[in-house]
């Protein structure tokens, strides 16, 4: 099967600092893959390279088998790449429904419609609302994002990305800043994602990672240390050294 997402020899340098070092990575359709690693391992940089926010110094990014390395962010989104952000990146003054509808309108190529206003607005809003209902998030549809509690704002992060109907979804620390006790709804939302979406999760919360991921890649200093099934990763001596080592330092 052709991978939904692939990187070949991906390399990123900021001056002398190498933050992505020859990363070969592949994500199958329907994958639930976690990317873990200590702080500063280059996880978010990796997401930014894949999504096109940063240009790589060398190497390639392939989406559904097509090389998108030279394509801008918007073109990658049109080819099915959705992402969320570690730090809430939302339309704070707008309602939840409008947040998602913006994504729906762009996916349908109607975001620039000036004249068929009523019908195109209604179409996007109705699809967005149906999505919120599926996510059991409909009761907050008209609440402005800035008035939502932080944990729910994290759910809007995911809902916007789902409005794009992505085939590849990059989740950058979906539970960042949410106390473990409250992260259950986030885990639930991720567990109920359509099975055909390929999901890559960056996460620090190991409980969450081992619950959601069927495969794990460990990134250390911009380099892939090891990749494997959760049980293999948990048993890997090098991972323990890196990880437990870091945890002890705090």
């Amino acid at each position: 099967m052709m991978p939904a997402l692939e990187t070949v020899g991906l390399h990123k340098r900021f001056g002398a600092l190498v933050v992505a070092n020859d990363i070969n990575f592949s994500l199958e359709p329907g994958a639930r893959h976690a990317l873990i690693g200590p702080n500063g391992a280059g996880k978010t940089t990796f997401i930014n390279l894949i999504s096109g926010r940063l240009p790589p110094s060398a190497g390639h990014v392939l989406l559904g088998g097509r090389d998108v390395t030279l394509l801008p962010q918007a073109a990658r989104v049109r080819r099915g790449l959705g992402r969320t952000f570690q730090i809430n990146t939302l339309f704070r003054g707008l309602s939840v429904l409008e947040n998602v509808a913006l994504a729906v309108a762009e996916r349908e190529g109607r975001g620039g419609d000036m004249f068929r206003s009523a019908s195109s607005r209604r179409g996007a809003l109705e699809q967005a609302y149906a999505l919120l209902q599926r996510l059991r998030f409909a009761e907050d549809a008209l609440t402005r994002v800035q008035e939502l509690p932080y944990g729910k704002q994290r759910l809007v992060e995911i809902a916007i990305a789902l409005g794009l109907r992505p085939s590849v979804l990059l989740l950058d620390e979906p539970a960042a800043g949410v106390p473990s006790a409250e992260s259950a709804t986030i885990v639930e939302m991720i567990e109920q994602l359509p099975p055909d979406i390929a999901v890559l999760i960056i996460e620090h919360d190991m409980e969450l990672v081992f619950r959601l991921a069927r495969r794990i890649t460990v990134l250390v200093q911009g380099r892939v240390l090891v990749e494997g099934a959760p049980a293999e990763i948990a048993a890997d001596a090098r991972v323990r050294e890196v990880y437990l080592g870091e945890r002890q330092h705090g």
Binding site: S51, V77, E98, A103, L164
Partner: protein
């Protein structure tokens, strides 16, 4: 009512939105001696409305919007002086010229953001003002453009000394521009502009062609500002270098902030109150009136962040 209907309903015309038009029509009869001032107010409302699309909706902070007002005024003025005094084609000339300058300058400057963008909007205005000053053989330079002679509208309605025709003309043009702007901000395009203002990074991440959208609204707003400038040229039958000045750019931002940014009606409230205050203060205190305008602005910005309409909002909600 479903949430979708609730949001769609916000786009429907509410009774209160007719209030400005009732006032404007009533003003025609009630203040017959003040119609020239009335026309100026209507023109500034249109100018402020065009600025609101850029500043209030798309969040492009500009201090150079007078560039387009000025280009529209000069284009319409020169067209009237050299080609034809027909007013409606003159408006079109003003709109197209200003829109073209908006598009051309936007192509270059909208690549930047924040302070750099602000500086570039100022620079474009400065360049154009200097060009208009130098090209005195077409613009009249510092003496202003003479010989602007406007024919009757549709060959029937003559521009009279009392400014009656001019007032109605400005009012009709403003009304059409408002219909257009209102439609625009409620369209998917308008919503995407709000998205860009609210979170640029996320708009990129949902695949929005951000720069194309910004260029589109910048061009549209420039054309509308050009229409406002053209109206000024036609109704006063004169164009001076001040149409392109920094002062006008600054003033229009002040008017919009007075009224309230990003709400379409801030332009109406702000421009009207500013122009009336200016008129009255200048009469009462000819040397010092700008001080009072400044003081009013300081108070508004400190105590009423959303301008006068924002203040009203808060009072009504309580």
């Amino acid at each position: 009512m479903s949430p979708v209907d609730a949001l769609i309903r916000r786009h429907r015309l509410r009774a209160i939105e007719l209030l400005p038009w009732i006032i404007a029509v009533g003003g025609y009869f009630a203040f017959a001696d003040y119609l020239p001032l009335g026309s100026q107010i209507l023109i500034m409302i249109l100018f402020a409305l065009s600025l609101d699309l850029v500043l209030g909706y798309a969040g492009i902070v500009t201090l150079g919007h007078s560039a387009f007002f000025g280009v529209g005024a000069y284009a319409a003025g020169i067209y009237a002086a050299r080609v034809s005094g027909e007013p409606l084609s003159g408006l079109l000339v003003g709109a197209v010229a200003a829109g073209a300058v908006g598009w051309g300058s936007g192509m270059v400057i909208l690549r930047t953001q924040g302070l750099a963008l602000l500086m570039l909007t100022l620079a474009v205005t400065a360049l154009l003002a200097e060009a208009a000053n130098k090209a005195s053989f077409v613009t009249g330079g510092a003496d202003g453009l003479q010989g602007v002679d406007i024919s009757p509208i549709f060959g029937v309605f003559r521009f009279d000394l009392f400014g009656r025709t001019a007032y109605v003309y400005c009012l009709v043009v403003l009304f059409l521009a408002w219909l257009f702007a209102r439609h625009l901000v409620h369209s998917s395009f308008g919503q995407s502009l709000i998205g860009i203002r609210e979170n640029l990074v996320r708009m990129h991440a949902i695949g929005s062609p951000v720069r194309r959208r910004l260029l589109a609204v910048y061009t549209i707003a420039a054309a509308l500002a050009g229409v406002a400038g053209a109206l000024l040229a036609q109704t006063t039958q004169f164009v001076g270098l001040t149409v392109l000045g920094f002062q006008r750019s600054g003033e229009i931002v002040i008017m919009l902030v007075f009224g309230g940014v990003g709400r379409l009606y801030g332009a109406f409230v702000g421009a009207t109150l500013y122009m009336i205050a200016q008129d009255q203060l200048a009469k009462m205190d000819p040397e010092f009136w700008y001080f009072w305008i400044g003081l009013l602005l300081v108070l508004l910005v400190m105590f009423a962040r959303g301008g006068i309409l924002g203040l009203l909002d808060r009072v009504v909600r309580r």
